[in-house]
């Protein structure tokens, strides 16, 4: 290498990489010590945690989607339970048990809990089609997490529709509604 290149190499060597801010060191340390606590870590995915500002007036707005989401989740479970009851039940007797139980206790539609395990045989469903539809998207407040870059909160309502195919060629349609919150970087001057 000629002397010019060596000079540049030497100049570069005099530069020191920026030190890690204390906050970042703490974050990395905590993540390294707490890897056991990370849900989904087994699949190699970690979640970025961004604290949201807690303001009184926002609580009412954000409370609603949480309840909706809860109901949506409950509806999904009930729907899946119903589908499982119909599809997984091989013996008509078992289905009668379910329906009879449901009639007696109409306020508790937890079908899977009353299935007779002996009368159930699993079948393999293959996914035929899957589609995610965005029902609604709305922009919320701009927030600045930990004094970092401003981000806009976006609420997206969507529904996942999956069509399964049973070995007999019977189609099973499953719909799972959900609400996602996304943080989108906001351009600033």
């Amino acid at each position: 290498m000629d002397s010019d290149l060596k000079k540049i190499e030497a100049e570069l060597g005099r530069l020191s990489p920026e030190c890690l801010p204390e906050g970042l060191i703490s974050r990395m340390e905590a993540a390294m010590e707490g890897w056991q606590e990370i849900p989904g870590e087994a699949s190699g995915k970690t979640e970025k945690v961004v604290p949201f500002p807690h303001r009184e007036e926002e609580r009412t707005d954000r409370g609603r989607p949480a309840r909706y989401s809860l109901w949506a989740a409950a509806a999904s479970v009930a729907l899946l339970g119903g589908v499982a009851a119909m599809v997984f039940t091989s013996s008509p007797g078992a289905r009668d048990v379910v329906v009879g139980e449901e009639k007696r206790n109409a306020t508790k539609p937890a079908l899977t809990s009353v299935l007779n395990p002996d009368a159930v045989s699993p079948i393999e469903l293959s996914a035929k089609a899957a589609k995610r539809t965005i029902l609604d998207a709305s922009e919320r407040d701009v927030i600045i997490p930990n004094g970092a870059r401003p981000m806009r909160l976006r609420r997206v309502s969507l529904v996942d529709r999956v069509v399964f195919l049973s070995p007999d060629g019977e189609e099973v349609h499953v719909e799972v509604p959900s609400v996602n919150y996304q943080l989108v970087p906001v351009p600033t001057d």
Partner: protein, 188 residues
């Protein structure tokens, strides 16, 4: 949401603290070189460190502490590639915003300390390094600030030692060309 803030956690974290303070800046520099944005660099650094910690804690890490850095360089690169793929899929939705972010990031995302070094020279060198094609700058970053040998860099990048050395030389040569004007003016 995870809670990192309890006292027991703080006591345990000291195990990595000294090591992070010593090696963290070099790793973050490489992460910045690999990622498009500062936030992404911090994220991929966290992902890589968590993977290291997990392997060390489980006893499945092959090699001693001297092997941590090569492992982390390899991991950072993989994480950056994965993140790039995810961002590319998302880019269609956020194209304008991402472009704005990248444009802003070039100006304000400093890789190096200003203390003890002439600011103008630092900006010139840092700018030239950032403008290099990634395949050159990643070798330079690992060689100059990571203290890796060409053989180690070759292993990390899955290229031969000679290719790593060539990329390093071409990269420095490209920087020299970019900095010619500044050198003539006496800025460097």
């Amino acid at each position: 949401m995870r809670n990192w803030g309890n006292n027991a956690m703080k006591e345990k974290t000291s195990r990595w603290s000294a090591w992070l303070r010593e090696h963290g800046p070099r790793l973050l520099l490489f992460a910045r070189q690999q990622a498009r944005r500062q936030e992404d660099a911090e994220d991929i650094l966290q992902e890589a460190l968590v993977k290291l910690a997990r392997k060390v804690d489980e006893g499945s890490f092959v090699g001693g502490q001297e092997a941590w850095m090569p492992f982390l360089y390899t991991q950072l690169r993989r994480e950056a590639i994965d993140l790039g793929r995810r961002n590319d899929r998302r880019k269609k939705r956020e194209e304008t915003v991402v472009e704005d972010e990248e444009r802003q990031g070039k100006g304000e995302d400093a890789w190096f300390e200003s203390a003890g070094y002439d600011e103008e020279r630092k900006v010139l060198l840092e700018g030239a390094l950032k403008e290099l094609p990634r395949k050159f700058s990643e070798v330079i970053v690992m060689k100059v600030w990571g203290g890796r040998t060409f053989a180690e860099i070759g292993d990390i990048l899955d290229i031969s030692m000679n290719t790593a050395a060539s990329r390093y030389r071409y990269g420095i040569e490209a920087m020299r060309k970019r900095l010619t004007g500044a050198r003539i003016r006496g800025d460097l």
